[in-house]
């Protein structure tokens, strides 16, 4: 079996985790990136909630990448960690929707850029995580060592 066949779970989550972090840092925009802030009573400009949404997603992306790395070195943990990664993906989806919601106005920058990107990445991680839990017993003539 090739390196990729044996380590596809670890490679997948390492890639998705790094992609999430990079997307959050350089690609996806929140309202602060577009110059929108809340002005408080003292006239100070404050970050809106979507800034913290993005921070949380960066953390979740880092965690996903770390789990992928662990899977590469501890292959016996790959299936269990896949389930954890799927939960992380679900958490990533829940972050902009409920936990740290983005702005109410659907035309705000965070809803046009950050939120769709996070939902997509979270969905991919969740699907990959669920796929990683499945073990195909009948695949091939020899069982795969997981």
């Amino acid at each position: 079996m090739s390196f990729i066949s044996k380590n596809w779970r670890g490679l997948t989550f390492l890639t998705l985790g790094i992609a999430t972090v990079l997307a959050g840092l350089f690609l996806l925009e929140n309202c602060a990136d577009a110059g929108h802030f809340v002005t408080n009573a003292n006239g100070m400009k404050m970050h809106m909630g979507c800034t913290w949404t993005e921070r949380a997603v960066l953390g979740l992306g880092g965690l996903t990448a770390f789990m992928g790395l662990v899977m590469l070195f501890m292959r016996e943990s790959a299936r269990a960690l896949s389930l954890a990664a799927a939960a992380g993906g679900a958490l990533m989806i829940a972050t902009p929707l409920w936990l740290i919601p983005t702005c109410a106005n659907p035309m705000m920058t965070c809803n046009l850029s950050l939120k769709p990107g996070v939902l997509t990445l979270g969905g991919l991680i969740m699907v990959a995580g669920l796929a990683g839990v499945v073990q195909f017993v009948r695949a091939g003539a020899v069982p795969r060592a997981v």
Binding site: C31, N105, P106, P116, A131, A139
Partner: protein
Amino acid sequence: MTPKDSRPVRMGLWRLVAYNLLRKPGRSVTAALAVVLVSATAFAGVLISQGVGRALDVGLARLGADLMVVPAQGASAAHTALVVGEPVSFYMDGALAGRVAAVDGVRQVSPQVYVETMANSACCTGRIFLVGFDLGSDFTVQPWLDQKLGRSLAPDEIIVGNHVLVLTGDEMKFYGSDFRVAGRLDATGMGMDETVFLPASAVSKIATASLTLAEKPLTIPDGQISALLVRLADRSAAEAVAQRIRAEVPGVSVLTGGQIARDVGADLRGLMTWVLPVATGGIGVVVLLFLALFSSVATERAREIGLLRAMGATVRQAAGVLVGEAVWLGLLGGLSGVAAGLAGYAIFQNKILFSYTLPFLWPGTLAEVLAGVAVVLGSGLLAGLSALYPALRIANMEPHHAIHAGLR
């Protein structure tokens, strides 16, 4: 395991097909992913086309107007406001209402005033589109008021479009003046959904009060309006009457329902200029991928196919095993693609509609289901047809050669 664990089974080729798909899951998933990409793009494209069409039908009908007259420089902004509810503010002389009403073919005219404002909420700021309508002549909001509220609006009441995120009874502040939400309009898929409606007289009062109450005062030149909604004696004469208005009332632009639909159609084509190549290019990729994949599979499994023939499989049955695998990959990929297309569109809906200035109203469930079924079945058929040639080639091989080819 003991024999008592082996429950009675009927052996069918479908079982062989199913387990063969699991034989090399990486390869099966890769092939299915290609189908997912194509079917997701195709389904999303169909969904958007259906939704844009429905929004135009419902939205323009709900608008109630046959023509819309705006300042000459405001045509483009008016189109954007009408289609996606992007806040705009432009003004023209209110006396133009009388001149437009005098044009042959015009039955009714109703002025509107547009205001662009900021709305503050606990979490964030956003621009809101306010439309002041004339209580006496309006035929856009008034019918809804008569039907749903059974009364006119009080001076401090507003009606919100379906997508404005407030509840009936909530308070909203515009330029320092407080208003109460009296009701929410039904969804139209067009700019009305993002709009707040209030009597034009209330807009004048906001402007006056804003001098002392608002951070930034609202200035509307006296006697100015933003647009005239026009009803015609004969709807089919819309283009002719529009021409007459342009000729008799200089300095204005006239938008017709047909023109709006044509402009939306052009914007939709702009979106489809990348959707269609991706979908059609993707179909080509899927065909080539399945052809190559199943040529490889057929060669790998030549011996197995020969054995099936030796056991009594006809050419059709033997080829059917391979084609069945391809069809299942196509169907599963298609199903996943429809789900992905639906999810992807739902996630990126605002971005797409805003970027391409498109109205959208979700098509009815039946239309969506039919589109989904068509995409799934089409994916299965495409995959099956792509695998047909290599499957028939190997099934038609004399079983002796197929069996011994695998031995070399």
